[in-house]
């Protein structure tokens, strides 16, 4: 089955998606970005792991090149390079880590105030902030501030769990509504399958048993096989 039949992004009630990846789970971010461009939802794309050029290249392969450029020019897609901001703050010797995110929070607040509609904030990859010396408390403070701005905000956080402590990831899981765990196959490498994805619906499913899928990333789409 296709990725978008399993996760109907526009129909989900969740407000905090957490993608915990111990392998290359970037296909998820490209899928979300592609969805937000096609559905014309106001999106703020915060990057730490790759340059904007990389995402443009991937979207070009997916056939969204023109749409991405149009979205950027029309400001329905706003890009924010958080990695440069963090490095700049350290070069300038700013010790208050929470203030690193003030500029981003102000930009998000400005977007929220413009229109009373749903919008998405995508962060790729939050654990790189930890690797660059930002404290976990500052990151939680940033997430709390962002979430308090609007109930119509949908937060999508991608985290490569091997770059952060397990406690940090576990606390993020308890803050999330929809938790995706992407990992390699436990049995080893396969030509047909790239990995395994488990979906936990944190607030809907009272019994909390995950839906498990095997996935294969193709050139233009992602195929899922339920197990």
């Amino acid at each position: 089955m296709d990725f978008n039949t399993v996760i109907e992004f526009g129909k989900e009630k969740s407000s905090f998606y957490l993608v915990d990846s111990s392998t290359d789970g970037s296909f998820f971010i490209h899928y979300i970005l592609s969805h937000s461009i096609r559905s014309n939802v106001k999106t703020i794309f915060v990057t730490l792991s790759q340059t904007l050029g990389h995402y443009k290249g991937v979207q070009a392969k997916l056939g969204n090149s023109t749409s991405l450029s149009t979205s950027l020019s029309e400001r329905s897609l706003v890009h924010y390079d958080l990695l440069s901001k963090i490095s700049q703050a350290y070069v300038e010797g700013k010790s208050d880590q929470i203030k690193i995110f003030d500029d981003l929070v102000d930009k998000v607040a400005a977007v929220v105030q413009q229109k009373d509609e749903d919008f998405i904030l995508i962060i790729d990859d939050l654990c790189l902030a930890c690797l660059n010396g930002v404290s976990e408390k500052a990151l939680f403070g940033f997430l709390a501030k962002i979430q308090s701005l609007s109930d119509k905000l949908c937060l999508v956080v991608y985290a490569q769990s091997m770059l952060a402590t397990r406690d940090f990831i576990n606390d993020l899981i308890y803050m999330s509504d929809l938790y995706f765990k992407i990992e390699n196959l436990s049995t080893g490498y396969s030509k047909e399958i790239d990995g395994q994805m488990s979906v936990f619906r944190m607030n809907e499913d009272l019994n909390l048993r995950p839906q498990k899928y095997l996935y294969k990333v193709n050139e233009r789409n992602v195929k899922l096989f339920q197990i």
């Binding site: 905090f16 709390a144 576990n170 607030n203």
Partner: protein, 307 residues
């Protein structure tokens, strides 16, 4: 015990529920809240303190009356350096004109401890303060063991009057069959409860299995009694160890008897008895065939030694 705690019949001043990712305590908490609401307490107010937006939305969906949800912790956690727990206490005094009593529920103390940079001192002070105050009749906190240091968890557990550990929530096939006629979704909690009696200061332990339906009503409570004989447990563990071996370590009955009858030499030291050897007619002889290089004579070979 768990039923008394859920119905507030057991007057425990502070309850800590320790769960894990797969053994979640949400349904247990909802059952507690539902029982409280059904009792229609006029003089006691329930105050829910969500620590994240996700838990706030979870409570809003569950509760018809949203005025029990207090956002004091949610609005101040991580975003300011204030003591969010002190804010909770100050606000309770400020808003208590009718001199009501309170039940405080904090859904995720992991995030609260993170706010204090994993220093449990402020939280411990808060729990002790709540236990002392007559206007706070009960404090209920949820802790997730996976992102808490074991030492911190032990430290915190010691100051609560009751600690409930959720060990398992998986239903066995016979349990599913037992409740199949009810046509309801059943949740199972295998619990260990440590309750400190204030009169005797003794800690009483209870092992119970609780079954709750999807309407958050208690269906059944089973009490598990501890096994008395220690030797039986030892035998069972020894048998388990010997099961997978590819060689025989057991003794047959003849071998066991021979082992029992064996008298070891040191046992006869100091006794007049001695081990009697069997007398045989034939004597053993040593036959020596000398080589060419051997010097055979009758002299004592040790004559040249000076001692």
């Amino acid at each position: 015990m768990i039923e008394d705690l859920l119905n507030q019949k057991e007057a425990s001043k502070s309850i800590l529920i320790i769960d894990s990712f797969l053994n979640n305590s949400t349904n247990l908490l909802f059952t507690y809240i539902k029982n409280f609401i059904e009792k229609d307490n006029l003089n006691t107010s329930l105050n829910l303190y969500p620590t994240s937006r996700s838990s706030k939305l979870k409570f809003i969906e569950f509760l018809p009356q949203k005025n029990v949800i207090d956002q004091t912790i949610l609005l101040n956690i991580f975003t300011s350096n204030q003591n969010v727990l002190q804010l909770v206490l100050d606000q309770l005094i400020k808003n208590n004109e009718s001199k009501k009593k309170f039940i405080i529920i904090i859904d995720n103390i992991n995030l609260v401890l993170r706010h204090f940079e994993n220093n449990p001192v402020f939280f411990i002070h808060f729990v002790i303060e709540c236990s002392r105050r007559p206007d706070i009749c009960q404090l209920v906190c949820i802790a997730h063991e996976q992102s808490l240091n074991n030492d911190v968890l032990c430290q915190i557990g010691q100051i609560f009057q009751t600690v409930v550990y959720i060990n398992d929530t998986k239903m066995r096939q016979d349990e599913i069959t037992m409740f199949s006629k009810l046509n309801k979704h059943i949740f199972k909690f295998s619990l260990k409860i440590d309750h400190r009696s204030l009169k005797t200061s003794k800690i009483l332990s209870f092992n119970e299995i609780l079954y709750i339906d999807n309407e958050f009503s208690v269906q059944k409570v089973e009490k598990i009694l501890k096994k008395k004989s220690m030797t039986k447990e030892d035998d069972e563990t020894e048998e388990d160890m010997l099961k997978g071996l590819t060689f025989n370590v057991h003794l047959s009955s003849d071998e066991m008897e021979a082992k029992k009858n064996l008298v070891l030499p040191y046992e006869l030291i100091g006794q007049k008895k001695s081990i009697k050897m069997e007398n045989k007619d034939t004597e053993s002889k040593i036959f020596y065939a000398p080589d060419e290089a051997d010097d055979i004579d009758d002299d004592d070979p040790d004559d040249d030694l000076n001692f």
